[in-house]
Symmetry: C2
């Protein structure tokens, strides 16, 4: 998409090369939507929800404020779309890292990627907190939060069940559920403080604590899975 549009633009630009005084350029709807979403996310992360006004969002995206209404109907709707977008890219960033074959190594990779950049990042934690604060008063946003939480936890539960099965440890559904809730909680807690207070932890400290903690909770050591 991006490539197509670029070629398109170049074509037109060359055609009018001598005196191109166009006041704006058209973009594909999907691109404009993403530009606006990225703009509002960047603003909220850096300056808070309060700074994300329609005018500043438009300026950040390089357009005028009318486009927000044109593409999203309202600012509220744009923020909701941005919340979805952010949560999706967070889950994607975590899960693309856990493609290892060995179950224990997959679980360890999940913990590490959750507690390393880009997932562990001041801006992303800032975004998460600001949008959760809003979600507590907005059913639509809370639904996004709930879906993300459940998605995370369910996949984590699968990872845990795989790891237990791989070492021949019997386990019930209720047990893996409890373990998934606990492991998700400890990872979340470490992630939040690591993002909010980056100077409070040494380099690699959070991933080490995360590995050790999840290992202790599940009952499987995870520190030795680097090369699996």
């Amino acid at each position: 998409m991006q490539v197509y549009s670029f070629v398109n633009f170049r074509h037109k630009a060359v055609a009018r090369m001598s005196a191109d005084q166009r006041k704006f350029t058209r973009e594909l709807p999907a691109q404009r939507r993403e530009q606006l979403i990225l703009a509002v996310l960047s603003l909220i992360a850096r300056k808070g929800v309060r700074a994300a006004t329609v005018r500043d969002i438009a300026q950040e995206a390089g357009v005028t404020q009318g486009l927000i209404r044109h593409y999203f109907g309202s600012k509220e709707s744009l923020v909701a779309a941005a919340y979805d977008y952010h949560m999706s890219r967070m889950t994607d960033a975590v899960w693309q890292a856990s493609d290892k074959p060995e179950p224990r190594a997959r679980l360890a990779a999940f913990v590490i990627s959750s507690l390393s950049p880009p997932v562990l990042n001041r801006d992303w934690v800032s975004l998460w907190a600001a949008l959760l604060g809003r979600a507590m008063q907005d059913p639509q946003l809370l639904k996004t939060h709930e879906c993300t939480y459940c998605y995370f936890r369910d996949r984590l539960e699968s990872l845990i069940a795989d790891a237990l099965r791989h070492v021949g440890r019997p386990h019930t559904k209720a047990e893996t559920r409890r373990l998934a809730i606990a492991c998700n909680a400890v990872i979340d807690g470490l992630w939040i403080e690591g993002g909010a207070l980056p100077d409070a932890f040494a380099q690699g400290e959070l991933t080490a604590i995360g590995l050790r903690s999840v290992g202790a909770l599940v009952g499987l050591p995870l520190e030795d899975t680097e090369d699996l």
Copy 2:
């Protein structure tokens, strides 16, 4: 203080009983400050930071908006004071529960009170999230967050060290620090989801998971400390 003011009011009221058309009553500065703080906390918890305007805060507190400036100088300063107030009452609510003599029971009581009302409460989680979102852009608020976090973690570290010492388990300072970070994280994570998604967990499930998790992390069972 409250009693004194009440008597005071009654006294005056009786003196002018026949035709008391006073347009307002004076309060002790400390009381008015607390009224305004409670008003802004209630508004933010129920309707979000956006709804906490000077006019609505004043109405919630039963005064006019000029008093916010009179007592706090600015709305921003009031919010900062309210953040301190909220964090203090949270820590107080947690720590007043851990007065048991036996170290393991103290640790267990800490976990339970952190994951039960009034600490585990939708409004308090909502408040926490909304104010953390603001704190990520406000150094003063972030300082409050940091102090609260460190206070919590340090006292938790003491609890853990006491429990380990009590059972004769040797431990280093670095070890108890890691354990405190991890235990604090799992409690925070459970607390957040328990407050944000109260219907996602069964009655007593979070405290059970919390006890089991902290026990597994520290290496000491905590489920059997009810009657210690």
